[in-house]
């Protein structure tokens, strides 16, 4: 363990290896999605993209605090959660092509990713849909005497839904090992949170149900990691659930590959300001300033990941489409 001063003046203890791994993961999510943007004009990936660009620090920081046996459930904006939990990159790209070797065998597409081998237990495209499921997984851990945690990723849109508060209540009542991660990017499609909610106090709502909660900078990967780790430790000791509001911003449109700004959508200045807070660029600066990485090392890492992304695209392209006989398979076991 090394004590380090983070770019945001937070005293933390993060293993040196993890500091670099988190950079690598954020970069992987960014480069994989930039590749999706690049390939979009080909129109060969016929599945709706909800891109994660801008929010990479959240999934990365959270998943860095988890073990392989801990599980996550995610939402429609699931690429980052899947990759950060260790989901297979090749099968990710194949799913974008809706091919048979995709992580959901071409039946899920961009919004329904899963890799159970690393504890990514699936993504639901119903806002708030996977939250109670994550609570149920935590209940299973309790009943099976397993010391693991379950994580629910959701956006600020889900904080409009009643099922979230039902989930808080039951998780607190049974002191279940579940961490609720709200990625507040301020928008549910184009509806701003201030037009949807009277009170700006998401942690307060969790606390009211008996779920300790914190609001943090979701672009600070070290802070996300540190806060998650604290809550995971607490949950694994049997003290129950936790809530994190990680504030960030999505650079792209709700859906698709454009950066849609303008009247009726969102102000351009807002996006410009948030781009200055890029979680990856700022972390890079920190790594260089602290002497953890050199420019050459960063470049090498970038090239290595780019190569892996390109290979994954090739894997996806070459994979066959599902055969028609697959249509009725897996409705039931």
């Amino acid at each position: 363990m090394q004590k380090r001063e983070a770019a945001w003046n937070v005293k933390i203890e993060v293993p040196a290896k993890k500091i670099i791994e988190m950079y690598e993961m954020m970069l992987c999510i960014r480069l994989a999605e930039e590749k999706l943007v690049e390939l979009h004009p080909e129109q060969m990936m016929k599945t709706p993209f909800h891109l994660y660009i801008g929010q990479e620090a959240i999934a990365t920081g959270v998943c860095a605090a988890l073990t392989k046996q801990d599980v996550v459930f995610s939402n429609h904006r699931s690429h980052g959660h899947y990759l950060a939990k260790g989901g297979d990159l090749n099968r990710f790209m194949a799913e974008m092509y809706c091919k048979i070797d995709g992580c959901s065998c071409g039946k899920g597409g961009s919004m329904h990713l899963i890799d159970t081998s690393v504890g990514h237990m699936g993504s639901s495209s119903i806002v708030s849909g996977s939250i109670p499921i994550a609570v149920g997984a935590a209940l299973a851990f309790r009943m099976q005497n397993k010391k693991n945690v379950s994580v629910a990723f959701f956006g600020d849109g889900a904080t409009d839904e009643g099922v979230l508060y039902e989930s808080y209540n039951f998780a607190a009542l049974k002191k279940l090992p579940v961490i609720f991660i709200c990625e507040n990017n301020f928008y549910a499609i184009n509806s701003k949170i201030t037009t949807r909610q009277a009170v700006d106090n998401l942690p307060g709502r969790a606390i009211a149900f008996g779920v300790p909660g914190e609001k943090i900078d979701g672009n600070d990967v070290l802070k996300v990691y540190q806060t998650t780790e604290k809550m995971v430790k607490r949950a694994k000791q049997g003290h129950g659930p936790g809530f994190i509001e990680a504030v960030s911003y999505r650079w792209k449109a709700h859906i698709g590959v454009t950066e849609d700004v303008g009247e009726g959508i969102r102000p351009e200045e807002e996006l410009t300001e948030w781009k200055k807070k890029c979680p990856i660029k700022n972390y890079e600066k920190y790594l260089l300033n602290e002497g953890i990485m050199t420019k050459q090392k960063l470049m090498n890492m970038n090239e290595k990941i780019q190569h892996l992304v390109n290979k994954a695209v090739e894997f996806g392209r070459k994979s066959p489409l599902p055969d028609a006989c697959e249509l009725l398979e897996d409705v039931f076991i």
């Binding site: 039946k107 699936g122 639901s124 039951f170 039931f332």
Partner: protein, 327 residues
Amino acid sequence: MRKLSAKNAIREAIQQCMESDPSVFVYGEGVDDAHGIFGTSLDLAKVFGNERVFDMPMSENAMTGVGVGAAVMGMHPIMVHQRIDFTLLALDQIANHAAKIRYMWGGHLNVPFVIRAIIGRGWGQGAQHSQSFYSIFTHFPGIKVILPSNPYDAKGLLIQAIRDGNPVVSVEHKLVLFLEGDVPEEMYAIPFGKGRVVREGTDVTIVAFSQMVSEAEKAAQELAGMGIDAEIIDPRTAYPLDEEIIAKSVKKTGKLVVADIDWVFTGMTAEIVAKIAENHFDALKAPVRRVGLPHAVHPSSYALEEVFYPTKTNIIKAVKDIINYKQ
């Protein structure tokens, strides 16, 4: 053989499954109270403790999701609703999640989850406490639906439901719960999609679900007095549906009446007559008849209840309507 009521047969099925498999647990509003869901879970909390038999907050949707989450992690939850009416609060988790998870997540997970829902009239309970809309669940691929009509089936179908590995909605009529009948003490499972010939006959086929099986039996008895020999088929499960047993009977009798405890419009009665018209048109020697709920909301007044709920009288009328049909 030992006689048992269906409610006790259900309780025994749950107890035996919990004894033989530690991953089975039961929850729902009132499962551990002094009434124990019409007796179907009575004292199970005393036997297994409140970790495995527990009451729940009034949060039907989240608590259904909790069942789904526990199920995908290898548990076998049984959720209980005192009225099927309340399942509508959980339709997102039932139809968008439990039903779809296996398919949309590429077959990597399954959802061994039983949702028990009590249906049926009682003491003027009216619009939101008497419904029996089970056919909506058959509409969603990924869900199986069972409807016991007697104590033997109640135990065997529920044991199969717990072992099935898929989401199963068990639709249990209040009046069926109090029926008595032969129930073996040992565990046994009734395979889904296998109907039962309740009564053999040659003149008309009556397909009946749930509590309508008892009404059909009474109707057949009276019809016999009129020289009409009715055959009764109980499909036992609405999905999967035993089309074969129905078709075989209709080929013999040429006449079909379907009696259900649900609304007629777009309900299971419609599905069954459609299947016969589609696949066995030549077997029909008369128009079909359907008996079920009229297109109205469940009333409270007993005067209206009397005309709303179908009985043996409606079945007899339907049979007499078509029995002498000449082309």
